[in-house]
Subunit: 216 residues, 4 copies
């Protein structure tokens, strides 16, 4: 009776975009399918034509969410600069969050963590997606570290994977503190500290000079 040719993927995207917007505003729990449908400009029932249930929307929305969170790391990665500079520039990117109008999207991260871990034992793809994301993120940092280790910018006795995990953890963790208590934490200042401290931690001792000065 009612037929229409539709780009299914386009519409799915539209719903997801709407969902993320609502999720950011109210969190998963307080966002209803109705909210999402309305935000997407479609009928409530239509949502179920594209997603099995609310959980699936949440799961799918993670990748969409990451697009909002994504900093333009790519550009930095392909630039011809030293590993150390790459690292520094990427870290600097995070200070930008300071200038976002609201931290709604960042706060949504809490919901994803919570939801993801709850799906731990289910077939749920969310945790898998989240971990895929974290793993690839770690890899990016690890690659830089490895590169730096290779050209002597960084110490040789470090484990690139864990340094990567640590850097990401540091950023996540400081973001948590900042989002929860903006009065207590100045994000830029915090990231400056992270940058310089971690760099000192992975840069070779006294660089070449000291080695030269004090050869064995």
């Amino acid at each position: 009776m009612c037929a229409k040719v539709v780009d299914k993927e386009e519409k799915k995207d539209r719903i997801l975009k709407a969902a993320i917007g609502e999720f950011a505003k109210k969190g998963f729990a307080k966002t209803t399918i109705s909210d999402i449908a309305q935000a997407a400009g479609i009928g409530k029932g239509t949502v179920y034509e594209y997603f099995e249930n609310k959980e699936e929307i949440i799961n799918y929305s993670f990748n969409y969410f990451m697009r909002f969170m994504q900093f333009d790391i790519e550009t930095i990665l392909i630039t011809e600069i030293s590993a150390r500079e790459k690292l520094e520039q990427i870290l600097d990117l995070f200070s930008d969050m300071n200038n976002w109008g609201s931290t709604d999207f960042i706060e949504l991260m809490f919901d994803f963590w919570s939801e993801g871990i709850k799906n731990k034992n289910s077939r749920g793809g969310l945790l898998k997606d989240m971990n895929k994301f974290y793993r690839s993120y770690r890899e990016i940092f690890a690659d830089i570290i490895v590169k730096g280790m290779g050209d002597g910018s960084f110490r040789k006795d470090i484990n690139p994977g864990y340094i990567a995990a640590m850097i990401i953890g540091c950023l996540d963790g400081i973001t948590v503190q900042w989002v929860l208590d903006k009065e207590a934490i100045d994000l830029s200042e915090a990231i400056k500290t992270i940058k310089s401290t971690i760099l000192k931690g992975i840069l070779p001792n006294q660089t070449g000079r000291s080695v030269k000065r004090r050869p064995k």
Copy 2:
């Protein structure tokens, strides 16, 4: 005048303990008041004799939750050891989480973050409590840093508060990654990296000694 005598505080505690247990298992959203009552071995209505509503239980449970999370930092703090050693020992404590049977309680942290931030605009005491906790935690670390800076163990050009925030953030952040993806992250290994990297980042350049030995 002659009524059943009950240690209200003791009972409140019992309910809270039961609540935390249920929350850890199922998260806030999926834990019903009935669950809590049953876990506490009391009637549903009784819960409301001790708490206004579910939200209040959640709020109160944070402090209870922290007791579970609390590592025995106190002992380390009062021990007569160097700032550096204190720092190292405290960080080592976190590796213990590895040996906890389940990470249910740690995962609950996600719910607290999520719930706390949702109360952002309400009079809700949860966010306040969480921030109080984080602030005092930062202070503990900052005090150690300051001490270390005073006795020359640590560099003088660092900001103790942000170093503290960074350490805590690092631990939180790495815990997140570990909890989400235990296969990818070995907690002990990660903490070793954090420990050594941050220490290198805040320890003074080995310059002092070399300078002495080789003054200009």
Copy 3:
């Protein structure tokens, strides 16, 4: 675009009718949404598709209730008869209540009064509706009185508005006594008394003269 087509107003009416029936049987307090849904032959949740909450159902039901209570005054009003005759005929209508199978609906009036006054301080529309009804009712009677005053059927020294309020009050009040204690009050008899007493009260003095002037 292609959705179930429902006459929302028709359905709202159906729910209201069911609600009124339940209310009449059990009163507001003891009527549950479930009762109403069941009586309307729909699901509990459906009720909430049409009404915000129970209070709204009560408020809306007043107008519906009045339809049950409404006597066919209109017909009398448009008939070409004297003011006095109109008044008498309208009062006679009330004797009809005698022949209603049950007084459940009349008794419901008590609930409306009680509920309406409780909404006194809220934005609640019930009291407003009730007062609107009473005001318009008074106006109807007042108009008749004024007409009768104009053509000399009624005394000139009476206040039509208060006479109207008195007549309505009389009817309400006698109904209360009758409903509460049918053994003690014979409605028809009571209304006869009201009719003749009030008429004597508002008819001009000296009926005797007219009899003399226009003897049969």
Copy 4:
């Protein structure tokens, strides 16, 4: 263990007085046993030592309620004045309600009517009490009417019982309208109208003048 000698009746009264106060403030439905106990300055459980259940409190409270409503009719009744004057003075008493600080107690009447009629089919004593009250009230008025009929103050062709019912109904009914819509009804003015209209309705025809003009 806990013994105390108590005047049971005195305490029952205290509870009833407290109950009526709470009922007037919030109505039956919204008044909890807790409220009553607190207002009476006793424990919740103690209430049940004196009353079977909430319904019984309501039932018993009617007589208490009437005490608040009672106007000092007695004084007027025993005064040596004419029947007509008695009637007028009693009616005037009702104008006093105007000066009561609040109409909470009057509004409670709605609850009693509603509750009373609901007990219609139960053994409930409330309806019985209410009817007893109304019957005795009618009797008081009827007695005055009869007296007036006897001494020629009032017409002989009236039914004292129904005139009494009508007067009381009039007062009840006008009070309802006034309580619901004080802006629309001026109680004193309304009672003036009632007084003069009913009096004209029951006073013998044509007063002295017509008699003088057309003596038999």
